[in-house]
């Protein structure tokens, strides 16, 4: 592992809580590592597990999923759905050989800027310790032929 390894973390945030927590951390000048790239969703329930797989397959070293505390979802109970999907996704990823520490679910209310910053810092250090995921492209892929334009001839 290189000493200069800087993990790339994709963070999914909820419009009603964790995104505002991140915003609050910013306005309050609370520092957190720049390794995380935050993406705003309307709700953690919008998080299709496809997003997590796509992030990991495209070069992310870790993924942070954040949402409102249980019982506080703006859409009543979608954060519970997010939790269930996360737990099933984590089992599946473990079977694929992806360490469970790379994908984390964190609840953060709009008031918890400091806590969110701390959770981000923790995840960055955990993923740094795990090293690069290096999923990227398939190493065995070879030359792919250019598209062949064709016209179908009548018999």
């Amino acid at each position: 592992m290189s000493e200069t390894f800087e993990p790339v973390i994709i963070g999914f945030t909820c419009n009603w809580c964790s995104y505002r927590a991140a915003d609050l951390a910013g306005t309050a000048r609370v520092k957190y590592p720049p390794n995380v790239r935050l993406i705003r969703l309307m709700c953690s329930g919008r998080l299709d597990p496809t997003f997590v797989l796509k992030a990991l397959a495209s070069g992310a070293d870790g993924v942070l999923i954040t949402g409102c505390h249980p019982g506080e979802c703006h859409y009543i109970e979608q954060n519970y759905k997010a939790m269930r999907r996360f737990l099933l996704l984590r089992r599946t990823l473990t079977q694929m050989g992806i360490e469970p520490g790379r994908v984390k679910l964190v609840w953060a209310s709009a008031a918890e800027g400091v806590r969110l910053a701390q959770e981000i810092a923790n995840l960055v250090e955990e993923v740094r310790a795990l090293g690069p995921l290096n999923w990227g492209k398939d190493e065995t892929s070879s030359f792919i032929l250019p598209p062949l334009p064709f016209e179908l001839e009548a018999a």
Partner: protein, 327 residues
């Protein structure tokens, strides 16, 4: 030389079931013979790779390619048939998304060879080992070399159409052959390149006659452990049925027979990752909001990666497990 358009069918890493499905179109096979000149079909007739190589480029009108790309021979023939074919169809689940041979992508290739040659049930003596080159007196004999992972056809060559299914249903094959013949005679137009053909536009659930209600699951069960209501949705009864993510095309054969859908028709329209869609749909219907209870319910799916990627691992976003990818 015949003026009929040329037809080819090839098998790479596959089981041969796709060929049987083609022959199961019964007397329709006579239409294939009447309308096409079969130039290359290793299962059905004798032809050599060099005969194909000698054909002019683009001279085969229709090639049905089944099987995944497991070794260098598969890849070489995929490139060869791409060059020689006007229409290259990824035929069957193996060519489309990897299918059962693609489960090899969970294990390193050395481990697979060890299992095949050195486990208790397969031990032929410790000296027996797969070799890909052997210096015989007449010259070196070479076997194809396994790749670290299996790839889908479109991961090595451009594919014009996809026809999923393990195997594709014979009535779907017959309909596609009818369409191609009609198009050749100027009586129909082919769908746009890249289309999935011989399928429906929705999911297996839409063909399933079982009644569907709001689903709330307290436990996942195995089909042999419970007495099932034959009229009610299997997922609702706790059976992990892959229907919600699986492409329509088979007519819901398995759920109609009382067994859960295992997903052989691959991801439905608009589904980027088959497993992710199933994770979403299974997790959504679990009736619990407490982590401990959710984990207990999830214990009822002992092999989630196998459940979700039985047919589609090489075609999924991650394509393979980490151990198979490692050099």
């Amino acid at each position: 030389m015949s003026a009929k358009p040329k037809f080819a069918m090839y098998w790479a890493a596959s089981c041969g079931g796709c060929e049987i499905a083609v022959l199961n179109i019964h007397e329709k096979i006579l239409d294939v013979d009447a309308n096409f000149d079969v130039v290359f079909w290793p299962v059905a007739m004798d032809a050599k790779y060099k005969d194909v190589a000698a054909m002019p480029d683009d001279s085969i009108t229709l090639t049905l390619f089944n099987g995944g790309i497991r070794n260098d021979e598969n890849e070489e023939i995929a490139h060869l048939l791409r060059r020689k074919s006007k229409i290259l169809v990824a035929f069957g689940s193996c060519a489309c998304e990897g299918c059962i041979p693609g489960l090899a992508n969970f294990s390193p290739v050395d481990e697979i060879i060890d299992t095949a040659f050195h486990t208790v049930t397969t031990d032929k003596g410790s000296e027996v080992r797969l070799q890909t080159r052997y210096p015989a007196r007449e010259g070196e004999i070479r076997l194809p070399t396994l790749y670290p992972t299996l790839r889908t056809l479109d991961q090595v060559a451009k594919v014009d159409y996809y026809m999923p299914g393990c195997p594709p249903e014979s009535h779907q094959i017959a309909a596609v052959i009818d369409l191609v013949i009609a198009a050749l005679n100027g009586k129909a137009t082919l769908p746009p390149a890249g289309s999935v053909i011989g399928v429906g536009g929705s999911t297996v659930c839409d063909d399933c006659p079982r009644a569907r209600n709001v689903k709330t699951i307290k436990a996942f069960k195995r089909i042999q452990d419970v007495r099932l209501d034959p009229t009610l949705c299997l997922l609702e009864q706790g059976i992990p049925c892959n229907g919600p993510a699986t492409r329509q095309g088979c007519g819901a054969l398995c759920p109609k027979a009382g067994a859960q859908c295992i997903g052989c028709y691959g991801p439905a329209e608009g589904v980027l990752d088959y497993g992710a869609r199933l994770i979403s749909s299974f997790a959504s219907v679990i009736d619990s909001n407490t982590p401990d209870e959710i984990e207990r319910i999830l214990d009822g799916i002992p092999d989630p990666a196998g459940q979700f990627y039985r047919f589609s691992l090489p075609g999924s976003l991650l394509r393979a497990g980490k151990s198979a990818r490692a050099k």
